[in-house]
């Protein structure tokens, strides 16, 4: 049993990670601005941008799983920098000083995504200067900060789960379902771009595996996926089918979507709305180019394998919606 700090546990994935650690018998503390809602965890309500709170949060802790981040397709660059880069720096420093031995940085494959198709690559180094979008750029820089702090006695591992989804996920699945239902989600390009994704249970198990293996594999970054890439249109159709929503059929060419995304992105900065913009360049790229990965090294090093997968995951998602609909 260890004492583990989970940051960002009010988020959907963060909460799932915290619950998993509690269930595994760890003593779990969480750090985020809102209550985590995780039974059995001790919440510290603060932002990673507040150094004093961070110092309090890491006190007496053996290990940290750092998920807190500003995740968005749009927004002010300065906010991303403050939370993602500076927040990580603050946390890493405090953790190291507090004698934390293991530190898992939850990253994203987009830190190395430069807009080119990714077909069967492992986890190349993060490239802040080339990553697309403020989120990816700042996560890339943050990953470098975290891995740069790896040292004897302070084992840092970065894991990059790709497109995490599952029941109750407000970020992706529900948004896609809502947009499809409202007819606001086009198929970008041919819809055949092959993309990896990660069912939430596979991601949670992978993060725990990284935590367990940290002292063996520290200093490395690993991609997590469910190992079952699918054409993007098929995956989205699967999400929609699970919710009983018709899959999108309206097509827009990939180039047009990217161009429109750039315009919308620019407009959103001037006139921010309440919701995410309907299409950003980053999103258009994500929806129209291949990004699937080679996770053999991850499986080998972490002693982890995706147990659920996409096919079974979609079945569970449908079952969840069936229950929700009553």
């Amino acid at each position: 049993m260890s004492r583990v700090l989970v940051t960002g546990a009010s988020g959907w994935l963060g909460a799932a990670v915290a619950r998993d650690l509690v269930a595994a018998g760890h003593e779990v503390r969480t750090l985020q601005r809102r209550a985590s809602g995780v039974d059995g965890a001790e919440d510290v309500l603060a932002s990673v941008t507040q150094p004093d709170a961070v110092v309090r949060a890491v006190e007496g802790v053996d290990a940290v799983v750092h998920l807190a981040a500003k995740v968005s397709f749009a927004g002010e660059e300065a906010d991303f920098v403050a939370v993602n880069i500076e927040g990580t720096r603050t946390l890493v420093r405090a953790a190291k000083r507090a004698g934390v031995r293991r530190f898992v940085f939850v990253s994203s494959p987009s830190v190395a995504h430069t807009g080119e198709p990714i077909t069967g690559e492992d986890a190349p180094p993060a490239q802040p200067e080339r990553a697309h979008g403020a989120y990816a750029r700042t996560k890339a820089a943050a990953e470098l900060v975290a891995l740069g702090a790896d040292a004897p006695g302070f084992a840092v591992v970065a894991v990059r789960p790709h497109i995490v989804w599952g029941p109750g996920d407000p970020q992706l699945v529900e948004r896609i379902q809502q947009r499809a239902a409202a007819g606001r989600l086009p198929v970008v390009g041919s819809g055949a771009a092959l993309v990896d994704s990660t069912y939430v249970d596979d991601a949670v198990a992978g993060i725990r595996a990284a935590l367990d293996a940290a002292e063996r594999v520290h200093g490395n970054a690993y991609v997590l996926t469910s190992g079952e890439p699918r054409p993007i249109a098929e995956l989205i159709a699967g999400f929609c089918a699970a919710a009983g929503v018709a899959a999108p059929t309206r097509r827009v060419p990939a180039a047009a979507a990217k161009a429109a995304g750039s315009v919308v992105e620019a407009l959103w900065r001037i006139r921010p709305g309440h919701d995410e913009p309907p299409m950003t360049r980053f999103l258009a790229e994500q929806l129209s180019t291949a990004h699937w990965f080679d996770i053999r090294r991850t499986r080998r090093d972490l002693g982890w394998t995706p147990e659920v997968g996409v096919t079974e995951g979609l079945r569970r998602l449908a079952a969840h919606h069936a229950v929700m609909r009553g």
Partner: protein, 860 residues
């Protein structure tokens, strides 16, 4: 160092940053120069120091000499690859690639250097470099001439000679491109930039800009280009040229050189055309040859010369006179059945053309062959001469082919189905000395400048003769040969034929057969199917026009366009069966398909006891339909390839009894054929070990008396396809499969098409059969992504795509019983032109890769 100070420009080696070139390889070597009487400085790339640093003692040295207007940069790939191999633990070869004086980064001495000077310069340099006791000399372009001169003068240390796109035959007429260069050289040095530019521009594929710039880098000023100009001017293009004697001496010296030799050639070379290759082959008859189809003059840029050279130095081919002269084994030649029936007046061959019918009795056929053989000998066709046969399957082809075989000429047979371009490649690549053809073929030969003296298959009027450049006609040749004695028959291990593959995967390859090998093909087929003088066959597949009579069978050529098998109708087949009372039918799947589509009277085929489908694989549904028409026939699907025409055989009943399995059941190896499996490694390659254990999937290797002698002018392909030892050679088929408990062979696909997923290798045929069970008319299973972590993708035929209908995709996934990342759909899968049967999985994989990367969807 003593003597005159180095000039500033000499001290510049190549600058850092040239693509593929490590500055650490560069050395400046001062040598006493006989021409100027003072030290001059050579630039060389030399791996000696690096090998020493690695603590590796080289097995020998490769001395590489560039031509004009390049420099040692041409050999950077060889240098790098040699070091890679050395570091990987393979026997190391030091590579020394020189810049000739006045060229590259070697000194500009202001002296005009002729061939003889350059040979001497090279010798002076190698004396300084201490190359050791085993040197393989390697040269490109005019560097080939210089290094040949060096080789002749250094026989004591010479271990081998490798020449690429060069010429020593100064007497041959110079091609236009070279004349243009010669003319340009006289105009002025500024034109030599044009020469540089042209040379850089003819690479296939185009060179990167940085590479082109690197080649030009040492030639940036007119003064630095003087060497290029002088080099061009030194080509002995006129009888009285100063270097003529030197080049002639080198040419003569080559003809006496007995070390192992390798000729690597890029056929798309406007300057060093193939006749220069043939000239070198005559001077070095023991040399192994590899023509890199599609590659051109800058061969080391266009093709894997580095790999070829390093493979070859590791296992050199025999020196002159080292060819194991095996004792002449007695054999029964291919034409024996005809000769034995020279007194028989019954029908040997029946040709059906529309309503016309032509019957040739055995007696006439035998006499025709005899007359043609003697006549061909009389007009100068010699044993070993290559004769390209461009005659449609029928009596004329049969007689000409057997006549050539009888006198030891080598028949070159390429299928017109290859198309004009493929045929041109095949005919010119096989360098025929003679072409026997119908007027259409001779017109193509003329228009496309195919080599070889031309003989018309039939009589021609004088104007047509002149227009086609025809030397003889077969009727004349036969008249000439009547009553003349025949020369001695060839020995069993003499080369008899070059048969071209269908070219469904890449350019068609020439497959060499010996006389005994061809005879063994006949024996394997007749033994397996009990064919002989008692039987009659329909030759619905072109090669059986030759083999039918060789079996001693009464043979009929049905009325069809043999280049388009799908033109055979049921009526035409029925007429053929009736004409000779045929009991055996050879058909390609495409021909069979059309026969079935047009059949209305099964009774017409009740005399047929045996149907053999040949040329491409056949699915069970087609066989089931065939059985409904050929009611009393046993339906066989023999398995083989141009390289070993009969490996295994199975009939419809056995296939049905076996049920579905991993691949297609092709049956037990026929008597005389040994089959073994080289199991697949994790990364989808064939391992070195072999097994006959049931269930092991791997590359199928065969060994038989009737297999190929080798590939023609494709030394590397040949070496790669060989397994076993020289005494016990096996052929790697490139097919993947396994043996079952009963010793029967199942074919699972082609080796390059094996999909390497993170969960292990997947062979395509089983997945394709699963897709067909799921309802797809036809499917291709391919891998996308890097080896070892590929995703399995199924592409089904029919539908708009790019994604298959969700319901079909679901069924395919369920049937495939393994992870399938995507099920895509195309209107039509790309297949081979000839049979429309072999799916071009490589092309499908390329298409699927692009589509799944999110690129715009095009036709595969």
């Amino acid at each position: 160092m003593s003597g005159a100070p180095l000039r500033p420009e000499v001290l510049e080696g190549p600058p850092a940053g040239l693509p593929g070139l490590d500055p650490a390889w560069s050395r400046l070597v001062p040598v006493d120069d006989a021409a100027t009487g003072r030290p001059v400085v050579h630039h060389v790339l030399d791996t000696g120091a690096e090998l020493e640093r690695l603590g590796i003692a080289p097995a020998g040295t490769i001395l590489a000499v560039h031509g004009n207007p390049t420099w040692s940069y041409l050999w950077r790939g060889l240098v790098a690859a040699s070091l890679d191999r050395a570091r990987a633990g393979a026997p190391a070869w030091r590579v020394v690639a020189v810049d000739q004086l006045e060229m590259g980064w070697s000194e500009r001495t202001g002296t005009t250097r002729r061939v003889a000077d350059r040979v001497r310069d090279l010798g002076a340099l190698t004396d300084r470099l201490h190359l050791g006791p085993r040197v393989v000399a390697l040269g490109h372009d005019w560097g080939g001439v210089i290094v040949s001169g060096w080789a002749i003068a250094h026989r004591d240390v010479l271990a081998g000679l490798v020449l690429t796109n060069t010429a020593v035959d100064g007497h041959a007429a110079l091609p236009g491109a070279l004349k243009a260069a010669l003319a340009a050289s006289a105009v002025g040095t500024e034109h030599t930039t044009a020469f540089l530019d042209v040379t850089m521009a003819i690479a296939h594929p185009r060179l990167d800009r940085d590479v082109r710039a690197a080649f030009r880098r040492p030639y940036r000023s007119a003064r630095r280009r003087e060497g290029i100009r002088d080099f061009v001017a030194d080509i002995p293009s006129t009888p009285g040229h100063l270097s003529r004697a030197a080049v002639d001496a080198i040419a003569a010296g080559l003809a006496a050189l007995d070390v192992p030799a390798l000729l690597l050639w890029g056929p798309r070379d406007p300057v060093f055309q193939e006749r220069y290759l043939h000239d070198l082959m005559r001077r070095l008859p023991h040399a192994r040859v590899h023509r890199f189809e599609g590659a051109g003059h800058l061969l080391p840029e266009d093709a894997d010369v580095a790999g070829a050279v390093l493979d070859w130095v590791a296992a050199p081919t025999p020196a002159r006179g080292d060819g194991s002269a095996s004792a002449a084994e007695p054999y029964r030649p291919l034409w024996a059945a005809v000769e034995e029936r020279a007194e028989d007046d019954t029908a040997a061959l029946v040709e059906l053309r529309g309503v016309a019918e032509r019957t040739i009795p055995w007696r006439l056929l035998a006499r025709r062959i005899q007359d043609l053989a003697a006549g061909l000998d009389a007009v100068g066709v010699r044993p070993g001469d290559r004769v390209s046969l461009l005659v449609p399957p029928g009596a004329d082809l049969l007689a000409a082919a057997f006549a050539c075989l009888r006198i030891g000429a080598v028949i070159v047979v390429a299928d017109a189905g290859l198309g004009v371009q493929g045929l041109t490649r095949a005919v010119t690549g096989a360098r025929p000395d003679w072409i026997i053809g119908i007027p259409r073929a001779l017109a193509a030969a003329r228009a496309l400048r195919w080599p070889g003296m031309r003989i018309a298959a039939a009589g021609l009027a004088a104007p047509a003769r002149a227009a086609l450049g025809v030397r003889h006609t077969l009727p004349e040749v036969a008249r000439l040969g009547r009553g003349r004695a025949l020369p001695t028959a060839p020995a069993g291990d003499d080369l008899a034929a070059v048969l071209f593959t269908s070219g469904s995967t890449g350019p068609a390859k020439g497959v060499r057969y010996t006389q005994a090998g061809l005879a063994a093909v006949r024996d394997a087929i007749t033994a397996r199917f009990a064919l002989g003088p008692g039987s009659a066959t329909v030759a619905g597949f072109a090669p059986f026009v030759l083999f039918g009579p060789a079996f001693g069978c009464r043979t009929v050529v049905p009325d069809m366009d043999v280049t388009k098998p799908a033109t055979l109708t049921a009526d035409a087949l029925a007429a053929a069966v009736a004409a000779v009372d045929a009991d055996t039918v050879f058909l390609s799947p495409a021909a069979l398909t059309n026969v079935l589509a047009t059949a209305d009277d099964p009774a017409a085929f009740d005399g047929v006891r045996l149907l053999l489908t040949v040329g491409a694989p056949v699915g069970e549904p087609l066989l089931d339909r065939a059985q409904a028409v050929l009611r009393l026939a046993s339906l066989h699907t023999p398995y083989g390839m141009t390289e070993c025409l009969l490996v295994a055989d199975v009939d419809r009943e056995a296939v049905a009894a076996a049920g579905p399995g991993n691949g297609v059941l092709v049956g037990a190896p026929v008597p005389g054929v040994a089959v073994r499996i080289a199991p697949l490694t994790e990364d989808g390659r064939a391992s070195d070990a072999t097994t006959t254990e049931p269930g092991a999937t791997g590359e199928i290797q065969v060994r038989a008396p009737h297999m190929l002698d080798g590939y023609d002018l494709l030394w590397r392909t040949d070496a790669a396809a060989r397994a076993g030892t020289a005494d016990e050679p096996w052929h790697r088929t490139g097919d993947v499969g396994h043996l079952d408990d009963g010793g029967r062979l199942w074919v699972e696909g082609r080796l390059p098409h094996v999909v390497t997923t993170p969960d292990g290798v997947v062979t395509p045929v089983q997945v394709e059969l699963a897709a067909q069970r799921a309802g797809a008319p036809r499917a291709a299973a391919v891998g996308v992504g890097p080896r070892g972590t590929q995703q399995l993708v199924v592409v089904v035929e029919g539908g708009e795509g790019p994604l298959a209908e969700p319901a079909l995709a679901e069924r395919v996934r369920a049937e495939a019983d393994r992870p399938v990342a995507a099920v895509l759909a195309v209107r039509e899968l790309p297949t081979d032109v000839r049979h429309n049967a072999k799916i071009d999985r490589t092309r499908v994989a390329r298409w699927a890769t692009a589509v799944l990367a999110g690129e715009r969807v095009r036709e595969p």
